[in-house]
Symmetry: C2
Subunit: 223 residues, 2 copies
């Protein structure tokens, strides 16, 4: 029996997680300045691990870090958002393609089960539960691609976009449509149809972007 890693986290790693959580929860809003001394005091450590945690978060794009100017929570312009969603769509589609080719029977079964269980959530309109399951769904596709590099990149993009897609499922009927799009993806993957899986996932992600774009336009119009 192989021992798993002891999982001893350094302060830096825990800090990175905590700061990321604060950003993703919205407590640290996009554009907000992240002062090293402030963070150090808040989390009860010195500035050194704070600095290292900030560097790490900057490498994932969650925060902006300019030399001698400090860190701010990344706020994306609409152009950058479009770039992010575009990249996301490409990567997710690539993962779906690979997943269709290389998922094991067990993985395919798990994906199918998960998808079917999401039908109930969509039907009864449980947005929070559906959103949580949705993350798992996409993570299934990532891991099914059997390419850790792509999976990590996809996960990073998803986290980075998280602050801007929280309201994604608010649009009326989005849940049902999302589930219908998933169905096409799942069918293609189960059929080992790489081309169809790519197209279906790309379609799904593009529609997500559209939905968010309309939502953003609506909120701007109402403001």
């Amino acid at each position: 029996m192989k021992r798993v890693e002891p999982e001893i986290l350094t302060r830096t790693e825990r800090l990175a997680d905590e700061i990321a959580a604060a950003v993703l929860s919205g407590e640290f809003a996009p554009g907000r300045r992240l002062d090293e001394a402030m963070l150090a005091e808040r989390f009860g450590v010195s500035r050194t691990p704070v600095r290292e945690a900030l560097r790490r978060l900057a490498s994932t794009g969650l925060i902006d870090l300019k030399p001698r100017r400090g860190a701010t929570v990344a706020d994306a312009t609409s152009a950058q958002l479009e770039t992010l969603f575009g990249a996301m769509a490409e990567i997710e589609a690539a993962c779906a393609r690979l997943a269709a080719m290389s998922m094991t029977p067990i993985e395919r079964r798990r994906l199918q089960n998960l998808h079917e269980s999401m039908a109930a959530l969509a039907r009864r309109g449980d947005r929070d539960e559906y959103a949580a399951a949705n993350v798992v769904f996409h993570a299934c596709v990532y891991s099914g691609a059997h390419n850790g590099i792509l999976a990590e990149f996809a996960g990073g993009l998803r986290r980075r976009l998280a602050p801007f897609r929280r309201a994604q499922f608010r649009t009326e009927g989005r849940l049902a449509r999302s589930h219908a799009e998933h169905a096409v993806v799942v069918a293609a993957i189960l059929a080992c149809d790489a081309v169809a899986a790519h197209a279906a996932m790309f379609d799904h992600m593009s529609l997500v972007e559209d939905a968010l774009g309309r939502l953003g336009a609506a909120s701007r119009a109402s403001a």
Copy 2:
């Protein structure tokens, strides 16, 4: 007239570049331990910027960094190499697809000119010049995709793979074949044929991987 950035590099940034250069040049071989104190003395700085540079390089995958165990130059197992090449192929193909759709006429013209100038290099078998031009060629495709996120990721993967593909063009006839594959990619992009561009680039990258695989097998057999 907008002033360009002052371009003041911090010690950490310069260090990251210098260490990366040492790794890419082969001076720091894969698997080698990178001692903080050693690097600090060698580059005449304290350990703090060394630590931060190492973190940055770790985030790009160029080095491995384990808590309390220090840094080593990343040595990829063949399985990891396969993953890297797989991801690379997917990303490059995605960039080619986007480039076919969104390159400007000027960008298309530049790509075509570059490709044509590479014909001479391939014909006279100038491996070094061809390799350099090859990097520019792929960079052209990245930038033509008009997606900074994907371009950055692709560039990172390329750097990460650099230590293992240095001998890529040593195989007899690889230059000519590479140029022929490029021709298919260029034709598809110039024709705005997204699907063909994707397929052609994917093909090209897969063949690169094959060539490298055979080379690796040969060198192992001769050892």
